[in-house]
């Protein structure tokens, strides 16, 4: 389902945009306004992060947003309500991003059911390798939800093949080592890496970690299907407020 939507959008756009927010940061009202601004600015798919107290794959900006959201009283229930509200209201696919303990504590099958009930399209769980994912895969498949997995530059070709066998919707290619939010130098190494990713799967490829401006997005045209803007939109919001989000996103792909 997600894959079909992305493919059809891809026919109209050379590169799709996927953005990321931490639900409830800085508040649920602001999160809603950010989603609204992003959809208006033409974002194609969004990751909604349910905050977790131990987000080990995230850098300082998203870590801070996780903590602030939790401190302000965010909960899994409220995040599902939010996810349902935005997916009913806006006509783009929404994905959940969170860490595995949130699913595990909730009950994996029940979590997937709530995702389906809320109209969400898939999930990214960065600390869940496919080896540990049998129950999750079954729960997602039962409801036609996309379990999105990750390739990294040091993932072997053989392992990429194994991951591709269970991945649905898209594959998230991490551009480099490190956590979210640090700068990435897009180099020839990246091309070689993306060629390996492309060879491993026919699914749409999304590239994230360090994509921050129009030059980065331009560089990715023709190389991947989606550019993922994660930390940078949170920075923009922190610095310019919610009103800064729409022009920032529009500037990533629109007329210069």
């Amino acid at each position: 389902m997600l894959e079909a939507i992305l493919r059809s959008r891809r026919e109209e756009q050379e590169i799709l945009l996927m953005t990321h927010i931490v639900i409830g940061y800085p508040s649920f009202d602001d999160s809603l306004r950010v989603v609204e601004a992003m959809v208006e600015a033409g974002v194609d798919v969004m990751e909604l992060q349910i905050p977790f107290s131990e987000p080990i794959a995230d850098g300082p900006v998203i870590l801070h947003a996780n903590q602030q959201s939790l401190a302000a009283g965010s909960s899994v229930d409220l995040c599902f309500e939010f996810g349902e509200a935005v997916s009913r209201r806006f006509d783009i696919p929404f994905l959940l991003m969170t860490y595995y303990n949130i699913l595990f504590k909730h009950g994996i099958d029940a979590f997937a059911q709530r995702m389906a009930d809320a109209g969400l399209a898939g999930a990214i769980v960065p600390d869940l390798p496919p080896e540990e994912a049998d129950e999750y895969l079954a729960a997602m498949q039962k409801r036609d939800l996309a379990p999105i997995f990750i390739f990294s530059p040091n993932t072997s070709d053989a392992r990429m093949g194994e991951i591709a066998r269970v991945a649905k919707g898209l594959v998230y290619c991490v551009a480099r080592k490190g956590v979210t939010g640090a700068d990435t130098t897009f180099s020839e190494d990246l091309d070689a890496y993306l060629a390996r990713c492309r060879a491993a799967t026919d699914l749409p490829l999304a590239l994230g970690f360090g994509v921050k401006d129009r030059a980065d997005v331009d560089h990715l045209r023709g190389r991947v299907d989606l550019a993922v803007i994660g930390t940078q939109t949170i920075r923009v919001m922190d610095e310019q407020g919610v009103d800064g989000v729409k022009p920032f996103i529009e500037g990533l792909r629109g007329p210069a």
């Binding site: 909730h106 040091n154 080592k177």
Partner: protein
């Protein structure tokens, strides 16, 4: 991913994709070292020449008389170089780092003992070293911070989350996912993703194999019970390893903090407050809320206030092989004072948790019984905390005068 590493239902390897290759490399390096008899010999030689292995098993005659029950023996891990059992693990991992050809080590630390041990190992082996330590722990363990820095390590105070051990572990992982090509993460306890629980336990098992031999030599019998404090669980796994196949009752003592009923504690296995979860790369009992968010923990001992616990210990509890108890902050200070007075030994606040439970049970045993307490570390590092707990007026006066001296 080569191996997943389960102990019953616990353990596993829940790591971001970027670290899978690094863990595969570590699993291989550990397997090769374990299969190579020369490696363990090299390790024992290092520990006997650089640290104080074998550490003695001390008969605590006065405490035995005092309680009038079972004969109390104390395994003296405090006599390791750097003052705690942590040396066993870091020196072992240091040898593995040398085999892997990496040049930099990073570590988390709570009480600072693991950080000091890791910084010491790095100095000896010529590695660069960065230590992550929660801001709260930096405050309460300043002497250890001082020594880590003198040893050439960079100490990074961690201001995220609850600013204690678990947050330091998260920061160390964030460093590792960036620098894994040059860097090994020397995890300090028998937790985390596979192979850490097994690898740390293997190095710490030197405690148990010595203790078993020593207690047989000195008493001609196996102990009735063995006591150890449990933070992450490395010293407990170390000494328990020696007795797992024997008819010996193994007792792990967790931080009861201000009392289990107050909720301000770090008892994962001795209380009903923890539940099974997956965080920091592995599956075990965590102190967490219904959504799976980790809770704040409390202990007078910085080395014990951790939200998770070794998956191997979680499995041993489910199997009924290890019994768990909790000791409150107050009981810990009391047991520490008694041990100092009666035996001239100064256990760390962490280790003193094991003493509390042993003291509760010793009177119920007979003189024919032997019990062993693992004194995992020495307590002089805790001088500020202990002096506050005891409320020693002369110490306060000294600190005031010292401060004035700096102000002058």
């Amino acid at each position: 991913m080569r191996e997943r590493g389960y102990y019953g239902d616990f353990g596993g390897s829940f790591i971001p994709e970027i670290l899978v290759a690094t863990f595969d490399e570590l699993v291989d390096a550990f397997a090769e070292a374990k299969a190579d008899p020369a490696f363990w010999r090299e390790y024992e030689t290092l520990m006997s020449s650089y640290s104080c292995r074998p550490t003695p098993l001390t008969y605590a005659e006065n405490l035995t008389e005092h309680f009038g029950g079972g004969r109390i023996f104390i395994k003296r891990e405090d006599l390791n170089h750097t003052g705690a059992h942590k040396a066993n693990n870091v020196m072992g991992q240091g040898l593995i780092v040398k085999r892997m050809g990496k040049q930099r080590v990073i570590a988390e630390t709570g009480a600072g003992q693991h950080g000091v041990a890791a910084a010491t190992m790095a100095a000896k082996f010529g590695f660069d070293c960065t230590i992550y330590m929660g801001e709260v722990d930096v405050q309460r363990q300043r002497p250890n911070v001082f020594w880590m820095e003198q040893l050439g390590a960079e100490v990074v105070p961690v201001s995220s989350g609850t600013r204690i051990l678990k947050d330091a572990i998260n920061e160390a992982f964030r460093d590792w996912v960036t620098n894994m090509d040059t860097t090994h993460y020397v995890l300090g306890t028998a937790c985390g993703p596979h192979p850490f629980p097994e690898m740390v336990t293997w190095f710490q098992s030197i405690i148990g194999s010595e203790a078993r031999r020593q207690v047989l030599e000195q008493t001609g019998q196996l102990p009735a019970r063995v006591y150890a404090c449990v933070g992450g669980g490395s010293n407990a796994m170390g000494i328990f390893s020696g007795f797992l196949d024997d008819p010996v009752e193994l007792v792990g003592v967790e931080a009861g903090g201000r009392g289990l009923e107050t909720g301000e504690h770090a008892s994962r296995l001795a209380s009903d407050d923890a539940s099974v979860g997956i965080a920091q790369g592995y599956k075990t009992y965590f102190l967490q809320d219904g959504d799976g968010q980790m809770k704040e923990t409390h202990s007078i001992a910085a080395g014990l206030d951790y939200v998770g616990v070794s998956p191997i210990l979680a499995d041993l509890r489910e199997a009924g092989r290890v019994r768990f108890a909790a000791a409150t902050d107050e009981e810990v200070v009391e047991a520490l004072r008694l041990t100092i007075r009666k035996e001239g030994l100064i256990p760390a606040l962490e280790s003193s948790h094991g003493f509390v439970q042993a003291f509760k049970e010793a009177p119920t045993l007979s003189r024919d019984d032997v019990i062993v307490i693992n004194q995992s570390g020495r307590g002089d590092k805790d001088i500020f905390t202990v002096a506050d707990a005891i409320g020693d007026p002369k110490w306060k006066q000294f600190i005031r005068e010292k401060a004035e001296e700096y102000d002058a």
